[in-house]
């Protein structure tokens, strides 16, 4: 059981990462990752939606026949997204002003429907909650990483405006890396998102290959000895 859980954590964060492996949800990805803070906000909002929609889909799967599962998923996901939208507008208003346009678009994030279909509809509530959390965190990790690279190269800052999302206490997180910096416009625009995403996916492949080679080499060395 613990092995299963560890595997789910690993799947969500790395092995089956929504962005780097499943290549899903590229629309919000490219649109909001102009800065690390926006990536974090979008990632957390999506995580909240994923956890809630996974739980609802899993909790009602006994009632829902396969024939009408998709409309039911869509209803549940759309409602959860609308609730998150209203809650953010009410209580995270500064962040909402930045991300507002993209929050309703979480509905169209295929990763959420994908997890409902391929995981939550077949698994108990607790596993679905964990899966939603881990897939969401993996997504958030990808968004923040992409946002951080684009922000650092594009504007020379890191986590600018983090206090709007996390509160005044996190002002220390805001960094100016290069000053004065004239900016590198293409990084702030969608093409920059594609470029950075390409490099990050390539980077992940390299890391994976190294990780796969090392045990093999060690095994070979052990055999010779």
């Amino acid at each position: 059981m613990t092995g299963d859980k560890f595997k789910m954590v690993r799947e969500g964060l790395w092995d089956n990462n929504v962005i780097f492996v499943q290549n899903l949800a590229l629309c919000p990805l490219l649109a909001v990752t102009g800065s690390a803070t926006n990536g974090l906000g979008m990632g957390l909002a999506t995580t909240a939606v994923l956890i809630a929609s996974n739980a609802l889909v899993s909790g009602t799967r006994r009632l829902v026949p396969g024939e009408i599962r998709i409309p039911v998923f869509v209803l549940l996901i759309a409602s959860v997204v609308t609730l998150v939208d209203m809650v953010m507008n009410a209580w995270l208003h500064e962040m909402y002003k930045v991300l507002g346009l993209f929050i309703p678009l979480i509905v169209t994030n295929c990763a959420i429907l994908g997890r409902a279909e391929s995981f939550a509809f077949r698994q108990p509530v607790r596993s679905s909650l964990l899966d939603g959390l881990m897939m969401g965190l993996g997504f958030t990790f990808g968004l923040v990483l992409l946002g951080a690279v684009r922000e650092a190269v594009g504007a020379g800052t890191l986590f600018a405006n983090a206090r709007l999302l996390l509160g005044e206490g996190f002002r220390g997180l805001e960094m100016t890396l290069i000053e004065p910096y004239r900016g590198f416009l293409i990084m702030a625009l969608p093409p920059g998102g594609f470029l950075v995403l390409g490099f990050l996916i390539a980077g992940k492949r390299i890391v994976d290959r190294r990780l796969a080679v090392r045990p093999a080499v060690e095994a070979a060395v052990a055999e010779r000895a």
Binding site: R62, L63, I68, V72, L76, V87, A90, W91, L189
Partner: protein
């Protein structure tokens, strides 16, 4: 159904004294019905009427959920929007020109000429000792480079701009977004200008022979903002009488309310 009896009796009781007992009984029965439904669901799930009913049930439940969410957040959202508007108003109306609450002191003016980009423009009125000293309203430049640009303008009673700020836009980061105060001081150059000063010919960006700077690499954005502000001033002039007259306290100066100085 035999089970329906307790409800009948409690309904009768309700007529006399609505109590908690009734609600408890109803919720217990609803819970029992849901439990039975939950147990029987696997046998029923292939029936068409079950599927239709289930979809309807889900639609009903999610609607209920959204209604509750709306109730819970509506008040807070309105308060946030008011805060946004108040802070915008503070930026374009200097605090010394008013002692009322311009957020609540409004008139709405329908105008189909489209000078403010809206069918109805809500005018926020600033008064000092009851006398209208300035107004502020939102105006939309519908034709920005990447989409509409929403501005708020503050204009004193003589038609001179007190300030202009960008409320919302989707212009290119690094180029067109210099219209934001956070990125550049450009937007401050409107203060003190009016229709007569510098006049129609020079109320343009420099590239078009006017007084306002454009940005390197972005001419369209400032051009459209300048045009929207010019149109807003025209709107102000056309409707001046309507709000300068609104609730104006007579001062006995002999000058008719709403006169253009």
């Amino acid at each position: 159904m035999k089970g329906s009896r307790p409800v009948m009796t409690s309904e009768a009781a309700l007529g006399r004294s609505p109590g908690k007992g009734f609600l408890l009984q109803v919720s217990a029965r609803v819970a029992a019905a849901l439990g039975a439904f939950w147990r029987k669901a696997p046998e029923l799930r292939h029936r068409l009427d079950y599927q239709a009913g289930l979809l309807a049930g889900f639609a009903l439940l999610t609607t209920l959920l959204l209604g509750l969410g709306d109730l819970a957040t509506r008040h807070a959202i309105e308060a946030r929007l008011d805060e946004d508007m108040t802070s915008s108003l503070r930026q374009v109306l200097p605090s010394e020109v008013y002692d009322n609450d311009p957020l609540r002191d409004t008139v709405t003016i329908p105008d189909t000429l489209g000078d403010t980009g809206q069918a109805e423009t809500r005018i926020h009125i600033a008064r000092k000792a009851g006398r209208v000293s300035a107004v502020a309203f939102k105006t939309i430049a519908p034709d920005g480079y990447a989409g509409p640009i929403t501005l708020i303008v503050g204009i004193d009673r003589n038609g001179t701009l007190l300030g202009v700020r960008v409320v919302a836009h989707t212009e290119t980061p690094g180029l067109g977004d210099k219209i934001e105060l956070g990125k550049s001081n450009w937007i401050l150059s409107f203060a003190g200008k009016s229709r007569d000063k510098p006049g129609a010919a020079r109320f343009k960006v420099k590239k078009d022979g006017g007084d306002f700077d454009q940005f390197a690499g972005a001419t369209i954005t400032p051009r459209k903002v300048v045009k929207a502000v010019w149109n807003a001033l025209g709107f102000f002039e056309r409707h001046q009488a309507e709000w300068l007259g609104a609730g104006e306290v007579a001062h006995g100066s002999g000058r008719p309310a709403g006169a253009v100085e």
